[in-house]
Structures are given as structure tokens and as C-alpha cells.
């Protein structure tokens, strides 16, 4: 990967985000994004987050001054390749089904001695240790690029998480009566010009769960699946989910199992 000037790339991204924030028609926005994608060709700003994440993995940090190299993401301590397409999965030490972000939080707390509340309850997107989780998740996900989703469903807790995720996906309510399925339970539908992935079946290679973490051009931010789901719930007119909550992890299991065989393109770039 060619190293590029970080501030220059971010400046281009910021200019794009500004242009897109104006009242441009959506079709010209789409065209602008296509142009932007072409401009970036062999790289997208997500690469910068991947680099940060890679550095954070091997950096001695936190009260315990430890690296994350002993972190077990499902395939043994220190293994980063291929773990992303098998998450969320059950972990014996926490007795929980965990997705990539929630597992990274466990490792940062257990190995490095960082404060869980700083990341979870009091954390903010793009800031402090929460931002470090995003960078780490972006790098780890990139270590499974081109691999097919294959979530384990052997453990009872994994099967339960799937069933709960399915029920969360279809439950309706709030002032607008929306469910996840309102937008993501049919083929070939759009909101405005935005195409919507069909998530209750395999949406295909590089679509839906296989496209996050992604750099969001419109917001100029790097978003993990946790962040993506947070914004889905906002638009569903639901309450805000906690970071790495049971519901968001269960949805990850449901979508991941439905997407079995789909190839991951993360980290991706999005409008």
C-alpha cells in the first residue's frame, strides 16, 4: 500500500463532505461520489484508519502498558487474519457472544487495563478510546478482505443470539411503526436514491454486513457496524442503542449468518 499524505487525503474528503452537505440533488451527489471513488481508485481514507489500527495493535498502552497481541479474537491469541468473517461468536472467558468491537473492548480492558466505561457508557464516536476501537476494528476487518462470511452456530448461545437477532430485525414499533425489515426486508428498493441491502437473506458479496467498517464520505467519518446500526435505529425512530449492546451484537449474528458465503470488502467507502 502506497503511503499517502494523511492531511491531504483528509482535506479532499472534508471538501467532498462539505460539497455534499449542501442542497445538491441526490443524483448529482451520487455522481460526485462515483467520481470521488474513481479519484481514490486504489485507496480510500479508510486506509489511514487501518494504519492507525495496525499501529495500535502492537503499541504498549494503558495502565498495564501492554500491547493487544495476546488478544484472542476467536482464532487464538494474536490471530488477526480471517477472524472478522467469523464474528460475532461465543467466547468462553466472557461467556458471551461478542462482535469485533465488543471483543476489542474486552481485550483493551483485560490486557491494557483501560476503563470500560470510558469506551462504552461515556464514549463518543470518533473520540478517545472509542475512536481507537474503530481504528482497530477497521484494521482487523481488512485482514479478512476477500474472505467469505462463515459465522459459527455450534454453541447454544450463538444459536440463541441468531434467534434474538431475527426477532429484533422484524420487531416493529415507535411512533413510525418501523422495523429493520421495513427498509431491509425486500429486494431492489430505495430510500430516495439510496439502494437498500436486503438483509434478511444473503445480500451478496460486499453488501450489507460485508461492507462495514466503511469510510462515510457524507459525514467524513469512519463507521463500524456498531456505528452503522446506531444510525439505523435513529432513523427507525427507536431509542439509541448502547455501544456493543446485546441487541446490536444479536443483529450482527443474524445478518452475518444470513450472509454466509458473502465476501467481505471491508474496509469500504460509502456515500
Amino acid at each position: 500500500m502506497k503511503r499517502r499524505n494523511k492531511s491531504a487525503v483528509l482535506a479532499v474528503a472534508a471538501a467532498m463532505a462539505l460539497a455534499m452537505g449542501s442542497a445538491m440533488a441526490e443524483d448529482s451527489t451520487s455522481a460526485a461520489i462515483d467520481e470521488y471513488r474513481q479519484m481514490l481508485q486504489d485507496g480510500n481514507p479508510a486506509e489511514l484508519f487501518e494504519m492507525d489500527g495496525e499501529a495500535l495493535w502492537t503499541e504498549a498502552r494503558g495502565p498495564k502498558g501492554a500491547t493487544l497481541e495476546a488478544c484472542d479474537l476467536g482464532k487464538g491469541p494474536g490471530v488477526t487474519e480471517g477472524v472478522f468473517v467469523e464474528l460475532p461468536r461465543y467466547f468462553e472467558d466472557t461467556d458471551k457472544v461478542q462482535d469485533l468491537e465488543s471483543r476489542l473492548v474486552t481485550c483493551m480492558v483485560e490486557l491494557q487495563g483501560l476503563d470500560r466505561a470510558d469506551i462504552v457508557e461515556n464514549g463518543k464516536w470518533g473520540q478517545g478510546e472509542r475512536a481507537n476501537v474503530t481504528a482497530l476494528a477497521t484494521w482487523i476487518a481488512s485482514q479478512s478482505r476477500g474472505m467469505s462470511f462463515n459465522l459459527p452456530q455450534d454453541h447454544e448461545e450463538e444459536r440463541l443470539a441468531y434467534e434474538v437477532g431475527k426477532r429484533v430485525f422484524f420487531q416493529r414499533g415507535g411512533q413510525y411503526d418501523f422495523s429493520c425489515a421495513t427498509c431491509h426486508g425486500q429486494e431492489n428498493i430505495r430510500i430516495r436514491l439510496q439502494e437498500l441491502p436486503y438483509l434478511s437473506k444473503d445480500p451478496g458479496d460486499g453488501v450489507g454486513i460485508a461492507a462495514w467498517p466503511a469510510y462515510r464520505v457524507s459525514s467524513g467519518q469512519m463507521w463500524t457496524m456498531q456505528h452503522r446500526l446506531n444510525d439505523c435505529f435513529r432513523q427507525q425512530r427507536f431509542p439509541e442503542p448502547d455501544f456493543v449492546s446485546d441487541v446490536t451484537v444479536a443483529l450482527g449474528v443474524y445478518m452475518g449468518v444470513q450472509a454466509k458465503g458473502a465476501k467481505s470488502i471491508a474496509s469500504a467507502i460509502k456515500r
Partner: protein
């Protein structure tokens, strides 16, 4: 009595569906237990933010109609037609028809409202008027190319619905239907994707009048 019989039949249906499912997966708990686990996960996962209160939303998930619509999808079993009619009648009863009998407002205000996707999220304020969110899902005026496709195209609404003269008594039924559909779409299709804009207090009667004009006024771009 009928209701009880139906409820029993429904429970038997769910039990049958679940047992088939359980056989496929080994040792899954009952549907009731899975529903309980799901509500527990909901209870543990959300927090109040802005105008959105967790208790209200969790209660709405367990509303009988919302529950029945979700279960139809979860168990892949369409709702019983009689139950569906009952839900539709209940929702029909919540529709308030315009007090002055005046159904149509200003189509230009309606177009602005149809464009706006504001309202109802944890970022919105209670006192700010909501938009109609219409273009998110529908094609409406031909000039607006950025439209969604979750709902039907409403372009050429008058022609589509056979309305030639608004004062013709033959048009009255279609005008009333259009109002009712915006006010409470569940009165016509129990599990419609469309929000209940009137019954759930999202839009005011005046706002609905403006949307009516966008669809039915002969001068509206929708009908040009």
C-alpha cells in the same frame, strides 16, 4: 368466543412452526422463551435520548398489531384474514375526518412537506413540526428525480385513481380514502409499511390537507 378460538389456533400454529424449527436446530427454547429473551435484550440495550423514551418504544413493540405483523414475518405465516380485518377496523375507528369537511389545502405547501424527512428521531425536538417523509418512499412530482421505491408511485394520482372532478360525488370516496390512507394506513392494510401519520400525531390535519392537495389538486405538478 370466536376470538378465543382464533387465539388458540394461532398459538397452535406458532407451536407447530416452532417445533419444526427446533428440530432443525437441536435445542432451541420455545417461541415464548425466545420472545422473552428478545424483550430482555431490548430492555438491556437501549437508553432514552432526546424525545425518544425506551419505555414507550418497548410498549409499542408489544402492541397486538405490531406483534402480529412481526410474528407473521418471523414465523413466515401470513396473518389470518379475519384478524387482519379486525385490526383494520380498529385502526379505521381512530381516523378523524376533517372537522369542516374541507379535505384539500395548498399543494405548494404539500410539496415542501413531502420533501422533508424531518421528525421523530432522537435529534428532533418535540416542538418542531415533522415533515411528511413522502419522497423517501414514493415517486410524486415528476420534477423530483430523487424518490424512493418502498411505496407505490403517486405520480398522476388523479388519473390513476379515476378522479376527474373533485366536486363530482363519485370522487368523494377516493378523496376520503386518500385522507384515511395518510391518516392511518393500517386501516386499509394492517401491516402496511407506512406510518400512521394522523393517528400517531406525526402530522396535523392542516399538514395532511396540504399533502391531499399535492395529490389531488388539478394544478399540482403531480397531475400535470
Amino acid at each position: 368466543m370466536k376470538k378465543t378460538l382464533f387465539a388458540l389456533a394461532l398459538m397452535a400454529g406458532i407451536a407447530a412452526a416452532t417445533s419444526v424449527h427446533a428440530a432443525d436446530n437441536g435445542s432451541l427454547p420455545s417461541a415464548e422463551e425466545l420472545d422473552r429473551l428478545t424483550m430482555e435484550a431490548n430492555r438491556n440495550s437501549f437508553h432514552d435520548k432526546g424525545i425518544i423514551k425506551v419505555d414507550d418504544v418497548l410498549a409499542s413493540i408489544n402492541d397486538p398489531l405490531m406483534r402480529a405483523c412481526a410474528d407473521a414475518k418471523i414465523y413466515d405465516q401470513p396473518m389470518d384474514p379475519e384478524t387482519q380485518r379486525k385490526f383494520e377496523q380498529e385502526n379505521m375507528a381512530t381516523i378523524q375526518w376533517p372537522e369542516d369537511g374541507n379535505y384539500l389545502g395548498d399543494w405548494e405547501a404539500g410539496e415542501k412537506l413531502a420533501q422533508s424527512g424531518r421528525g421523530g428521531t432522537w435529534r428532533d425536538k418535540a416542538e418542531d413540526p415533522a415533515g411528511g417523509n413522502c419522497y423517501n418512499c414514493h415517486k410524486i412530482s415528476p420534477e423530483e428525480l430523487s424518490f424512493g421505491t418502498i411505496g407505490l408511485s403517486l405520480y398522476n394520482y388523479r388519473k390513476l385513481r379515476g378522479v376527474t372532478d373533485l366536486d363530482d360525488p363519485k370522487s368523494a370516496e377516493m378523496i376520503k380514502y386518500t385522507w384515511g390512507k395518510i391518516y392511518n394506513a393500517k386501516a386499509y392494510n394492517a401491516c402496511s409499511n407506512m406510518p400512521r401519520f394522523g393517528s400517531h400525531g406525526i402530522l396535523t390535519q392542516d399538514q395532511i390537507r396540504d399533502l391531499m392537495a399535492l395529490l389531488l389538486d388539478p394544478d399540482s405538478p403531480v397531475n400535470k
